[in-house]
Amino acid sequence: MSAHAQVHGVEDHHDDHGHHHKETFITKYIFSQDHKMISKQYLITGLFMGVIGILMSLLFRLQLAWPDHKFTIFEIFLGKWGTDGVMDPSVYLALVTIHGTIMVFFVLTAGLSGTFSNLLIPLQIGARDMASGFLNMVSYWLFFLSSVVMLFSLFVEAGPASAGWTIYPPLSALPQSIPGSGAGMTLWLTSIAIFIASSLLGSLNYIVTVINMRTKGMSMTRLPLTIWAFFVTAIIGVVSFPVLFSAALMLIMDRSFGTSFFLSDIYIAGEVLHHQGGSPVLFEHLFWFLGHPEVYIVILPAMGIVSEVMATNSRKPIFGYRAMVASILAIAFLSTIVWGHHMFISGMNPFLGSVFTFTTLLIAIPSAVKAFNWITTLWKGNLQMNTAMLFSIAFVSTFITGGLTGIILGDSALDINVHDTYFVVAHFHLVMGISALYGLLAGVYHWFPKMFEGRMMSKKLGYIHFWVTSIGAYGIFFPMHFVGMAGLPRRYYSNTAFPYFDDLADINVVMTIFAIITISVQVVFLYNFFHSIFYGKKGPKNPWNATTLEWTAEVKHIHGNWDGPIPHVYRWAYDYSKLNKDETDYVIAGQDFIPQNVPLQDNEDELDH
């Protein structure tokens, strides 16, 4: 479906830089090598996966709120696992597993980083396309293939993978232990292996493009923060994704070829298995060596987008550009040495726990700097409350709220009692789930005109979408902290199997009602998105009066982005509301921004940022 995103007003592009091949429907919409089309493919595939992932959460939220109630909707969607409207415990675990997998990898990694890295890297650095359009195309199609495999796994006989998105062995390795660890898990591992290949090809391409293809004058210190974020995200991906690949590979071998990397001393289903000498803790190390950087792979692009959208709509430079870059680098570095905080009580040596507590709480420092810098960016601004701006402000809010509880979880002593409870679920949904989604939505609203040839999304629908979503998100996840602090473990099909947690039923009902409202309002977004693709009002070339280069490119999508020569860059990306030397007016009279391709004017001071 992704390929049909845009079918209006198509004419053969006019080409003035040497290519004279004719584009067919297939090369333009399906196997396109143009970064703008690939970006749209990523976005629409990501949204499609997001719809599935979020609907899954709706199903298990219904189960959690009303465990005794029979829902026809379960029978419709879950078939034999929802007979008579009662959800089977195994499919509950499958739903949380696939929800996590889809949201983390398919929506927030590929859908967010894939979409905006592809769209913005060439356009904002002043390049005609990615370093390798072909690899870029292969990257998308591998992502598409991995999505297909993941969705296909939902339909296998014994059910999809259901060992949690972290797929810890031995549960994920032994089909005897849970039905989903049969063909479902094989497909899960296959899908993720393909996904990793896709991610690596994409990331290498982004890195090479940023390093080699910046236009004249675009020094690294003049890059918009979006590009810094995408660039560093790609580096983290290249460093950590191969480690997950090795873990997946060893798990496949344990499952299919009788090796014992992660298995030892197991008695299950009445027999002793031959496995000896492996360790599940090894898998946990390998998994989280990716798994933790992964949350920064998810959040850094959102941070980049928010910084850019916030500066533009505040009509002010981003506060502390160098500190923002430094904190991105610091977060990236620290993100690779904190994975052990997921494993304080895994049985690893307690001394390691001390080390990881230290590094983990260190990462709060650059995060705090970023939060304060965003707030200061708003200070004395002239805030243009476009939908993207609202989502950026809300991003800072949820990032702070979710980030603060990280101080508790990152502290090994405190983690003992909240580990794997709903407290963790509340924490990471706010700090990376909701925040990153806000970043994604801010990006969609902000760059929609760039993606769809000048058409704009309806702001009215955008406002409704924003307010209901932001109220709903807090309504779901704030009360969830209480459930965790009450000691309720996550991934429980029902907490009414024994009486102790009976009094949490109210909170679960409230959370589910907020979830239903929040999920429903996403329909408004989807309608706004797809309707605006075809019928959205055409805006000006540079609707938000932004300084960055993408708004100097042609509104109509042409191969090579700029009809004429590539623009040169003379200044950083944040000359908003800069005054002339006499401070009588803006540098360009009557215009509160100076695009990056405007040379230094006589009436302005050159500032060292």
Partner: protein
């Protein structure tokens, strides 16, 4: 209660939608040149809504504490738990202060600096002093938390063998728990899953002299005031032994023995008198009574009255019945504990009677 909350949420939602639709109606003045870009009017309404949202966050916080503050865990039943709770309290106070302050700044700035064509933003690109301040403050606060946290952690995790702790094995399998006491010698016999056979369900080595007096039980009894060192094993997949009332948790990993130690300080009987627990049990029994009415109407047995007991829960996804893998824990006086233990058969006896 539930119905009340549902109605409350629906009413609040309805009001917000109504208010919003009013705002949008008001906002529909004369059409601007391009209506999809925020106008000054939009900036104004959205700015006010930002303040409304700030109020929403604060009210939500207060309301949730008021409604659900009493579902939180009661005082810790273990010695080290008090330290964890103290650290938790300090961290929570810091978090709330920072959260309240930063959310206020964020939303207040969004409101007060809402855009207007007549206004001009201040070109303010950086300030090294400010940035230094908000780098160094988190550094100091976090350093304090790290140091306090690490001392607490080391204290909890390092088990001093001189304490002569009671040795208890926690044995996890899909989907139940067993406990093995070392018996008179307080030493566990060697065990391996390869030795599982018949009644010897934990794979204890019958040839090991230490194993003869081991006692395997399905209900965990602990003497109050004595340190217990748990040795944890799993026979199939990862499990996690989670004892929330004792602020204790450790994963059970097939192929290795993990450990966690704590000293229970409050007996089950005492905990049942705890105000929080009394309230909680009353609430739970109220819910159960209502359920029982429905059950008897349908011709089924009513639910029994619930009484508080400490529990051991599985807290690592372990399969279909993960949600129902638990064991009762009884903390009692040394005498009661000894009397109970004396009634349990030793492994040697069990193997012989086979």
């Amino acid at each position: 209660m539930t119905a009340f909350l549902v109605v409350l949420v629906i009413i609040l939602f309805g009001i917000s939608v109504w208010q919003m639709s009013r705002i949008f109606q008001l906002a529909q003045g004369k059409p601007s040149v391009n209506s999809e870009i925020a106008s000054d009017k939009d900036n104004n309404t959205q700015g006010y809504l930002m303040m409304g949202f700030l109020a929403f966050i604060y009210i939500l916080t207060i309301l949730t504490f008021w409604l659900w503050g009493d579902v939180l865990l009661p005082d810790s039943g273990s010695e080290h738990g008090a330290k964890i709770d103290n650290l938790m309290l300090i961290s929570m106070v810091i978090i709330f202060l920072v959260g309240i302050l930063t959310q206020w700044l964020l939303h207040y700035f969004a409101f007060i600096y809402r855009g207007n064509k007549a206004k001009r933003a201040t070109f303010y690109a950086d300030n090294d002093k400010l940035e230094f301040i908000w780098t160094i403050i988190p550094v100091i606060v976090l350093a304090g938390l790290i140091i306090y946290g690490l001392f607490t952690w080391t204290d909890i995790m390092n088990v001093d063998k001189d304490d002569d702790p009671l040795i208890v094995e926690l044995y996890a399998q899909q989907f139940n728990w067993k406990a093995r006491y070392g018996g008179n010698d307080n030493t566990l016999g060697e065990a391996n899953v390869r030795l599982i056979e018949g009644v010897n369900q934990l794979g204890v080595d019958p040839a090991d002299p230490n194993a003869q007096d081991d006692k395997i039980v399905t209900e965990l009894h602990l003497p109050v005031g004595r340190k217990v060192l748990f040795k944890m094993r799993s026979q199939d997949v990862l499990h996690s032994a989670y004892m929330p009332h004792f602020r204790a948790q450790m994963n059970c990993v097939p192929g290795m023995i993990t450990q966690f130690a704590f000293t229970p300080t409050i007996t089950t009987a005492e905990m049942r008198q705890n105000d929080k627990i009394v309230d909680k049990v009353a609430r739970i029994n109220e819910i159960r009574k209502n359920k029982s009415v429905a059950l008897t109407a349908a011709g089924e047995e009513p639910l029994e009255t619930y009484e508080f007991d400490y529990i051991l829960l599985c807290n690592k996804i372990c399969g279909i019945s993960h949600y129902n893998m638990q064991m009762k824990i009884v903390v009692e006086s040394e005498e009661d504990y000894k009397a109970w233990l004396a009634e349990q058969p030793t492994l040697g006896e069990q193997l012989k009677s086979k």
